[in-house]
Amino acid sequence: MSASTNASNNVSNNGLMQQGWTWFSQALTQHDTFSSYFQPLIQMLVPHWTTDAYRAQIVEIRDEMSDMYSLVLKPQSGLLDRDWPTFKAGQFIELMVEKEGSRTLRCFSISSSPAYYEKTGLIELSIRIQQQGRITPWIRQQLNVGSLVNISAAQGEFVLPESIFPKSVMQEAALSSQKAEKLLFIAGGSGITPFRSMLQQLNSNESQLDIHLLYYSRDANQVLFQDEFQQLEKEHSGLTIRYIDSENEGFISVDHLQKYCTDYYQRTAFICGPSPMIQQARKVLTELEVEPNKINFEFFGAAPVEIENSEHGVVLFKASDKTVVSEKDKVSTLLEQAEAQGLNPVSGCRMGVCHQCICKKKSGVVFNTRTQQYSDTGSEEIQLCISVAQGDVVLDL
């Protein structure tokens, strides 16, 4: 028997074992796993314990600026806590908090480095307070040092290429590929957070990388992490940071690139910030004929909350990779839109009674025609038949 068939047999055996175990758990507990059946009892001993997330303790809440704070978190480990899997610089996690009995999720980039986590067991999230937001101001007020929150494993593709991180064995190769790789970081406001993680990580690796950071802020007197970055810049000859006041100089433009980063065409670009800035940066780079595969970007921060006068939005059916543009004057429910796209979600009464058409909304705001209320911006379950998209919505359908 060849090695490959052996391996595939192992896989299917494991699969069968897994299926058998799931069946056994369903038979005995009506739940897919025993732990989800026992969760409410386990929580009596281990508060905030859940089957689908990790526990983390708030070690410090640090105000960075008037509208910005950092949470320093310590992922828990112990008898009943699974170890939180480590992360790559640039990735984000979902922070889950229970507000008024309702679990709410928000995604935040980790603003500290994996090296820092290895050393201290801590990660940092740097959070901008959304003035009209439901969650970001609330977390600052409600959570205290010592409180427990739930976090997901790290996710996201907004990471530096593997090849540039020197590993002890391949130090030489990594250093030579570092020289070949030149990077352009474009950050807008709190979109700086994944870059802080990357820069800290490079620092710990004694990087020789050539990095150019264009850092846009609304207020030149209030620039997040400025002191820290100035220190980094001194220590690294390859790092150039340009602070740009977007009130005076506007968002990124062809001019800016040609003025502040003349060799932009040699660089791989990473963009993170408010969505209009990202769109504009992509447009500018494309106009300057930078190859699309050299443009990486991450939409950042909570979706805008003001929806009264929302323009038409885009509904993305993620699982089936279809998009619909909803028009403002023609109101149709998400269920109707899905069906018009040939999707066939389970549906029932079409009046919000039977809960068969429940679907996971990944992001965006919907209006519930039955309760006459707007939803939260984060990920949650909604009833398609009575939900109307307000702006951009992403559905797991």
Partner: protein, 373 residues
């Protein structure tokens, strides 16, 4: 007898005001929903899980003292009743979906009973709650077995329907499981014209058997065998305990449900009259077709607050423990619009159910004539 909706219901204008009043009651309750409701349902779930575990241990301890066995039966029955009524039924109605908790969610929850949760949601939340007590549309009306109104013609088998009723109550979990997949359609081939099942018959059959297999494995095989490891006669002691706990749950749930829709004064409706109903008319029909009964707080919890069937039908997705307070408000609104509101003690209501089952065992006078000829 089918209610002639048009003849005795409030006029259109009054129905709009009536609708608004009920909407206000709903909004008032929903505004209060929050952390304490999350705490409440989690507490009930903890009680249920504890009584499940303690019940199963206690049954085995019957080996030392039969009193343990007795306590085990009671705890297991309690666990099943809480799971089916206050937890399962209400969670699957979406009453706690706002918690965004993956384990307390109408899409994921399955209950400790033969009927598969997804199939139940499909027919119960849709057919029964939308078409409540409409003859020909609401298959829950008599479960296709009982004649509970003279809208359905008398047939000789109805003579024995009190026995049918007793059997249905005792084996209620099978009755419900079979009924919710429209068993008579998918097994006996009684296909209905323009039936609009969202999933295929094969899938329905599969979920029907797959759930029953799991339940049979758990109650009649796994736990009895586990006990047999101690001493083989314990196999039968645990099997009997499980069966009795299920019987208690079956009798309890069927009685609660029958008292909700089949009491003497609960009315039935004609399909045509319910076409293009507006929300006020729908509310009105829900009230006429449902009945409540009184009891203590613990009693209400054990019924899953279906002792407030009327409020449950008006507001199926409001967390059920609000129904107690809402019922007072609904009753006042009904008095205002001169709409009959059906409530009484459990014993009274149950007695009228029994009377109704017996009454319709016999043909009407007109039908008697036909049968004799």
């Amino acid at each position: 007898m089918t209610t002639r909706l048009a003849s005795n219901r409030p006029d259109a204008e009054a129905l709009i005001a009536f609708e608004n009043d009920l909407n206000n009651i709903r909004e008032e309750a929903m505004a209060k929903v929050g952390e304490k409701d999350a705490r409440y349902i989690r507490k009930i779930i903890r009680i249920q899980r504890s009584s499940d575990i303690l019940g199963r241990i206690s049954l085995v301890l019957g080996f030392y003292n039969p009193l343990f066995w007795l306590a085990g039966v009671v705890l297991l029955a309690l666990s099943k009743i809480l799971d089916n009524m206050e937890i399962g039924h209400n969670v699957m109605h979406g009453q706690y979906d706002w918690m965004n908790d993956p384990h307390i969610n109408s899409r994921k929850f399955d209950w400790d009973i033969w009927g598969d949760g997804d199939s139940w949601k499909r027919y119960h939340n849709h057919e029964h709650h939308t078409y409540t007590n409409i003859i020909g549309k609401d298959r829950d009306y008599g479960y296709g077995l009982l004649r509970l109104s003279d809208d359905i013609g008398w047939r000789p088998k109805n003579r024995f329907q009190f026995i049918t009723y007793t059997l249905l109550s005792s084996f209620f979990q099978f009755g419900i499981a079979y009924h919710e997949v429209a068993g008579e359609r998918i097994f006996a081939g009684k296909r209905k014209e323009n039936s609009s099942l969202p999933i295929s018959r094969e899938e329905l059959k599969h979920s029907f058997f797959s759930k029953i297999k799991k339940q049979v494995f758990k109650e009649y095989l796994f736990f009895p065998l586990l006990a047999a490891l101690i001493s083989w006669p314990m196999f039968f002691a645990v099997l009997a305990g499980n069966l009795i706990a299920e019987l208690i749950r079956n009798l309890w749930t069927s009685s609660v449900i029958f008292c909700g829709h089949f009491t003497e004064d609960a009315q039935t409706f004609d399909e045509k009259e319910c076409e293009n109903e507006n929300r006020g008319e729908w509310y009105y029909r829900q009230i006429l077709g449902s009945s409540n009964f009184e009891g203590s707080r613990i009693f209400h919890i054990l019924t899953g607050h279906l002792s407030r069937q009327t409020e449950h039908h008006l507001f199926p997705d409001v967390p059920a423990h609000y129904y107690i307070d809402m019922a007072k408000q609904v009753q006042a609104v009904c008095a205002k619009y001169d709409i009959p509101y059906n409530t009484g003690s459990f014993a009274q209501q149950y007695w009228t159910v029994v009377k109704r089952v017996i009454k319709y065992s016999f043909p009407t006078e007109a039908e008697q004539g036909v049968t004799v000829n």
